[in-house]
């Protein structure tokens, strides 16, 4: 018979962090010491598009803050997080499919072909200005017809969270669409 080793040695996060002064300098030191390396990994090694590099780098350091006190070997940890984040970015990017023409979207204009073309062009432009996540959510909800609960099941999260994201995505999409649709000032 054994003592159940893994039961008694599971992870115990620290209750109290080191004093705030020391921690602040830890975060700052970590950031300054490793920022360039992480940017290099994400942007050069993994060739993440420029527009996304800083977002990913910030997420890496946010993960460090979230795990403060649990990281025993900072640089390898950050490198591993960065590599994983970049790979996840590419997996998500490959998965997001181009959205179809929303020719059933009702426009404030007549139904002739020119208007339809313009409307679809505007929609495509609008969708191009959305983030990957927003496009995915709108696609699942409006094109595949999934409810928030069904989306939540697919994404394995809560339906309340999906509802919040959808609301934000629709609000943003609507704003962009009408901004693009507004006649240019002469």
């Amino acid at each position: 018979m054994r003592i159940v080793a893994s039961d008694s040695v599971a992870e115990t996060p620290p209750l109290l962090a080191p004093d705030s002064d020391a921690t602040a300098s830890d975060v700052e030191t970590c950031y300054r010491d490793n920022h360039d390396l992480i940017v290099f990994i994400v942007g050069r090694k993994f060739k993440v598009p420029q527009a996304e590099v800083e977002n990913l780098v910030q997420e890496v350091f946010l993960a460090y803050v979230a795990n403060a006190g649990r990281v025993s070997n900072v640089r390898p940890w950050l490198v591993a997080v960065a590599c994983n984040a970049a790979r996840t970015y590419w997996r998500n990017h490959e998965r997001s499919s181009a959205l179809p023409h929303h020719d059933e979207v009702h426009a404030p204009h007549s139904g002739d072909l020119a208007d339809l073309y313009l409307r679809n062009l505007t929609i495509r432009q609008m969708l191009g200005q959305l983030g990957d996540r927003q496009r995915m959510l709108l696609h699942l909800h409006y094109y595949e017809g999934l409810t928030a609960r069904e989306i939540a099941e697919r994404l394995r999260t809560t339906h309340r969270y999906v509802e919040k994201l959808l609301h934000g995505s629709v609000t943003t999409a609507r704003r962009i669409y009408f901004d693009l649709s507004r006649p240019a000032r002469l």
Binding site: A5, R32, L56, A63, W77, C83, N84, A85, R156
Partner: protein, 394 residues
């Protein structure tokens, strides 16, 4: 100035850095406040429920979620019900958080669900634990820097599957966790994942390989300066050697484990090692010494309210006595077990199993197989408390 071609496109942005430092500072302050409030709550007379925690708005912060998680991790082995309350409160709080970066909130949500899974694991509610881990993974869906938290979830999932006896799946996940922790340069967690691999190998009956795993991590364990962990690994090596029939080596490792557990004041673990030693004595033909030590072990388990372990130890004693045809003594032990289990309000099926044993002993029909059957049933109740007892076919 000419720019080096490898220079990053984005230099350090002081405003972004200041944001991170401010966030970190805020989390620390929240943790300090939540720690004090939680200590007062735990010391108070009120029943601890998720609502009693979430009713206090001062807990509605990311720092408080971390404090609740940390306290749950500390409580899960000894008081898993409390750990469940704390993690349920953490989950409720995290759902309402709005003022933090979404990625941070998502990571906290995943951590809270993982904590719930851990508490459920200690309560033996394994299917619910797996569902909680699914929630944890789902929470990370939109976080790209999620590899570390994913590995932590994988490790807990491996542990749950191991407890459920799904050993092949557990091993695959344990090895995945080991490799990931190694990628992250996290030697401590590599050790813990390897310990799990060793435990799975042991339960597969692959004792030589299990010993190899434990022996391979000893240097790292000793570097960690955790005497309790060292004691655990020593004990596990001894258990492997015991199964391999290498009794002298097993005795040395058990003795060393006892020294370390005593130094770490890990009394329950020391008692379990004494249990191993008693079985070793029996294997060496020292049955009287074994019985004497087993009585001590049973008393120590009783004193620490580990009644089910105490019962299993008494069954070991009964088995030795039956083997030696000491029926009167073994019958007394069986009677004592029925009385203890009944008065302690233990599961009716467990009481049924012990009554069956007692009646078998009274009828002088009990054998070591009978005792083994009852022992196996009692041990199985941890995973499946609704199981019904069925006696051996006569």
């Amino acid at each position: 100035m000419n720019r080096h071609p490898d220079a990053p496109a984005f230099p350090v942005d002081d405003s972004e850095l200041a944001g991170l430092v401010d966030l970190d500072d805020a989390l620390r302050i929240e943790e300090l406040d939540a720690t004090a409030r939680l200590a007062a709550l735990l010391a108070g007379d009120r029943e601890l429920t998720p609502e009693s925690i979430t009713a206090d708005e001062a807990f509605h912060s990311a720092g408080a979620v971390r404090v609740l998680r940390a306290e749950a991790a500390r409580a899960r082995e000894r008081v898993p019900e409390r750990a469940l309350v704390l993690t349920d409160a953490a989950i409720a709080i995290v759902e309402a958080l709005r003022q933090y970066p979404p990625a941070l909130t998502a990571m906290l949500r995943a951590s809270a669900w993982r904590g719930r899974a851990d508490a459920l694991r200690y309560l033996g509610r394994y299917p619910e634990a797996l569902s909680a881990l699914d929630e944890a993974e789902g929470a990370l869906e939109l976080v790209r820097a999620r590899g570390f938290e994913e590995a932590l979830i994988t490790f807990v999932r491996a542990t749950v599957l191991w407890k459920m006896g799904r050993l092949d799946e557990a091993m695959r996940l344990a090895q995945s966790a080991t490799n990931t922790f190694r990628d992250y340069g996290d030697e401590d967690r590599v050790v813990k994942a390897r310990i799990l691999e060793g435990a799975i190998l042991f339960d597969r009956g692959e004792y030589r390989d299990a010993r190899g795993v434990y022996a391979s991590i000893l240097p790292a364990v000793q570097r960690m300066d955790d005497i309790g962990l060292s004691g655990t690994v020593m004990n596990d090596i001894g258990a492997c050697e015991q199964e391999l029939g290498e009794h002298d080596a097993a005795a040395r490792h058990f003795a060393r484990a006892l020294e370390l557990f005593d130094a770490a004041t890990m009394s329950i673990e020391a008692t379990r090692t004494r249990w191993n030693l008693a079985r070793l004595m029996l294997a060496r033909g020292q049955s009287e010494d074994a019985v004497q030590l087993l009585h001590r072990v049973a008393q120590e388990f009783e004193a620490s309210a580990s009644r089910s372990d105490a019962a299993l130890v008494l069954l070991d004693i009964a088995e030795i006595l039956v083997d030696q045809s000491r029926h009167a003594e073994s019958t007394l032990i069986a009677q004592s077990l029925v009385e203890r289990f009944t008065s302690a309000g233990m599961l009716p099926s467990a009481v049924t199993a012990l009554r069956y044993l007692h009646e078998s002993m009274l009828a002088r029909t009990a054998t070591t197989a009978t005792i083994g059957h009852v022992r196996e049933f009692l041990a199985s109740l941890t995973e499946d408390p609704h199981r019904n007892f069925v006696g051996l076919a006569s």
